[in-house]
């Protein structure tokens, strides 16, 4: 079978993913672009006797090398040389969308133009596609992925275009600039770069950093210097050459659009519904309360509804563990299957309902178009702590569970901002830590306002998160710099299809299972091993390796107020999931009911508070570590997160215990 490779490209919010899903259906799978955490989706479909592989490139506005997304798209087109690039444009905003198309043409890519969301301009805008096709030297297909219009035509057009030669589109930059382009082109004659020579010449005049660098690598500094000379000459005529070049492209596009389209309604009447909704949700007084209510609903649904299912999953795994134990008589094997394997898999699966429901809601808010408004509403507040508006959602979600919260940082485009948001997330106190607070406050603070004690821990978590954000921003070179400027499109509101929603949330959930899941399972089995070895000891007793470890670490914990080995073991088990701390304490002291009588002999209210602070801040749980690794693709940052939180946890508990002891 013959096979071809094509790429989909387009501005953000043009329905590119929807087209991708319609084209490739179930064959799609998600990965990452090499070296970066930008999502890469690939899939395929067959047309007649031909297999067509489809790559979904990131949503971008242009092909300058400023952002990772743009660089990925440009490199893919230039280096992988797909047989066809399908540019997907939003029919409601042709001028802006065609800019990317013109750049693709200049780059020398073989293109096909899909005018998507065509249903939204019905009765509003008349597009003469024959004329537009002629002016832009491309084949045009009108589509609407959500209404399933034109998908078959698009497949047919893709197939046809694969067998046609590319027609060039010429942007006339005016005689002065053209003369310089011609000169630089001549110098580039025998340069071994895959890009179109005219494209290279124009980009050199635009002082494109990536291309300058590539030429320097080929030791062609003389060409770069010549280009700079040309720029100096041209700037005598055009003081701002870059702007001039971009405006020339727009002149071509605006002229073309004017000649090929007819507005059937006035601009004012066009987006009235979206405007009316925006008047309310971005209102200066209502904006934040509305966002708060929206988040509260997502939060409640995720953790109440998810918790409901999680309870059943936990129970059934418990039952399954007990049941399997009856059939296995070898005690080591029995413990391995029950505590290690089934318990471990259970720990992973228990998160599943939370994650699935959360991503269902988030995909809905994103696809409807509300997320962009939410980021807008929170931007000012978040800027004051050195984070962009979009970082607010992951932080709030952290109160439920840090795992989906860290996954939700994907909506933050800027790599630095995203890393920062990931690193501070574990300090937001998740629900798994609540059982520890409840147990200890009920023993030590039952007559001293326990609610206030618990509230103070949540507040401490927020303070540490905010302070760490500020600290990282000002000290770590890789995170230095200003908060990325807010510039984003507020897309038209539209109702997403059930299929798209299901697909988006399932893709993310499946990834969690695959990547984070394996790491969690590995950790669980490791802890099981340490608790059962050497052979013959009672599970997790003083003589097991965990017990030995606990004894080893106990002295380190004595300056923070709880230098007994059971505390160290409990914290060690807390790595699995923080709620395990309580269960472990229970096991070690012979039942949770005995804790209220035994613990007061080992701790006083102050050291109990220090213990809670430690539980709040020290190393994130294994699931969170797994997901940090998964999202940063960096062992270094994962290790940093673990080390930093351990350090902060110990120091905070130490300060509280030592300063508290003075009074």
């Amino acid at each position: 079978m013959k096979s071809f490779n094509i790429a989909l490209i387009g501005n953000p919010n043009v329905g590119k993913s929807a087209i991708f899903n319609e084209l490739t259906g179930a064959s799609a799978h998600v990965g990452n672009w090499p070296g970066v955490t930008v999502e890469k989706k690939v899939g395929k479909f067959t047309y007649l006797d031909t297999e067509i592989n489809v790559v979904d490139l990131p949503g971008i506005y242009s092909l300058s090398a400023d952002s990772i997304d743009e660089r990925i798209a440009r490199d893919y087109i230039v280096k992988q040389k797909p047989d066809l690039v399908v540019c997907i444009a939003d029919s409601t905003n042709l001028v802006r969308n065609l800019y990317l198309f013109v750049l693709l043409k200049e780059l020398g890519a073989k293109t096909l133009l899909a005018l998507n969301m065509i249903d939204l301009v019905k009765n509003k805008l008349e597009i003469d596609d024959a004329k537009l096709s002629q002016s832009l030297k491309t084949r045009i297909v009108k589509t609407s992925a959500t209404k399933k219009i034109g998908i078959d035509k698009l497949k047919e057009a893709i197939f046809d275009e694969l067998h046609h030669a590319e027609e060039e589109l010429f942007v006339d930059y005016g005689s002065d600039i053209e003369r310089s382009i011609e000169k630089i082109k001549n110098l580039l004659e025998d340069i071994d770069l895959p890009q179109n020579k005219r494209f290279l010449a124009v980009k050199l005049l635009e002082q494109d950093a990536a291309i300058t660098e590539e030429l320097k690598k080929l030791q062609k500094d003389n060409i770069v210097e010549n280009a700079l000379l040309e720029i100096n000459n041209l700037e005598k005529i055009y003081p701002d050459l870059q702007t001039e070049i971009i405006e020339k492209r727009y002149a071509l596009i605006e002229g073309t659009v004017k000649n090929t389209t007819k507005h059937l309604v006035s601009i004012e009447d066009r987006l009235t519904l979206s405007d009316k909704i925006d008047k309310i949700v971005t209102n200066r007084y209502l904006g934040i309360p509305i966002f708060a209510i929206a988040m509260l609903i997502v939060f409640e649904a995720t953790f109440k509804l998810g918790g409901f299912f999680a309870g059943y999953i936990e129970q059934s795994f418990g039952w399954f563990g007990e049941a399997s134990a009856q059939y296995i008589h070898n005690p080591v094997l029995q413990s391995f299957v029950k505590d290690g394997l089934i318990g471990g898999v259970g720990t992973v699966i228990v998160f599943l309902p939370n994650i699935l429901i959360l991503f269902l809601f988030l995909s809905f808010l994103e696809d409807v178009g509300y997320m962009a408004r939410a980021a807008f509403v929170m931007d000012k507040l978040m800027h004051s702590i050195g984070l962009p508006g979009r970082a607010f959602i992951p932080l709030i979600l952290g109160f439920g569970c840090n795992v989906p919260a860290i996954m939700a940082t994907r909506t933050i485009a800027d790599e630095k901002d995203r890393l920062l948001t990931i690193l501070i997330n574990p300090f937001i106190s998740c629900t798994a830590r609540l059982p520890i607070y409840v147990l200890l406050t009920s023993i030590f603070f039952s007559n001293k306002n326990p609610a206030l004690i618990i509230f103070s821990l949540y507040t401490l978590g927020i303070i540490v998160a905010v302070a760490s954000a500020k600290l990282f921003r000002s000290t770590i070179p890789k995170l230095k710099g200003k908060v990325s400027f807010l510039i984003m499109e507020l897309p038209i509101y539209r109702l997403p299809t059930v299929r798209a929603l299901a697909l988006h949330s399932w893709e993310k959930t499946r990834e969690f299972l695959k990547k984070a899941g394996t790491i969690i399972l590995f950790g669980v089995i490791l802890v099981w091993l340490l608790s059962s070895l050497p052979f013959g000891v009672e599970y997790a007793s003083e003589k097991s390796y965990v017990g030995v470890l606990g004894k080893f670490f106990a002295p380190i914990l004595s300056p923070v107020g709880f230098g007994f080995w059971q505390a160290a073991v409990a914290l060690f088990f807390g790595l699995l999931a923080k709620e395990t701390v309580v269960g472990t304490m229970g096991t070690l002291f012979g039942g949770e009911d005995k804790l209220s009588s035994t613990l007061p002999h080992l701790m006083d209210p102050l050291s109990a508070y220090a213990f809670m602070v430690m539980s709040l801040l020290y190393i994130p749980c294994l699931a969170t570590i797994g997901v940090i690794y998964r999202e940063t693709s960096s062992f270094k940052w994962t290790a940093f997160s673990v080390a930093y939180s351990l350090f902060i946890g110990w120091v905070s508990a130490f300060l509280i215990y030592q300063i508290g002891s003075i009074f």
């Binding site: 300058s64 400023d66 800019y99 870059q242 971009i246 925006d278 971005t282 200066r284 507020l490």
Partner: protein, 73 residues
């Protein structure tokens, strides 16, 4: 005058864009070129919302201060 001083619900024309290469290119590529008409939809605390060719954008105040506009007639 810079866009941050603009009034809501009034149409303006972009005169020029100031500032460094990075932000400048970003604007231009999103369709914000000199001569473009834009309507200010929201201008109070936080980012400014403008409507250009029927699409809406939120712009941080820092960026908005680099866009020089005058009232369209």
């Amino acid at each position: 005058m810079p866009l941050i001083l603009a009034n809501e619900n009034i149409e303006y024309k972009v005169v020029r864009i100031e500032g460094g290469h990075g932000s400048n290119t970003k604007f231009l590529e999103m369709g914000l070129v000199p001569g473009t008409k834009l309507k200010v939809i929201y201008n109070a605390k936080g980012p400014i919302i403008v409507s250009i060719n029927g699409s809406k954008y939120a712009l941080g105040k820092g960026l908005a201060s680099k866009i020089i506009v005058r009232e369209a007639v």
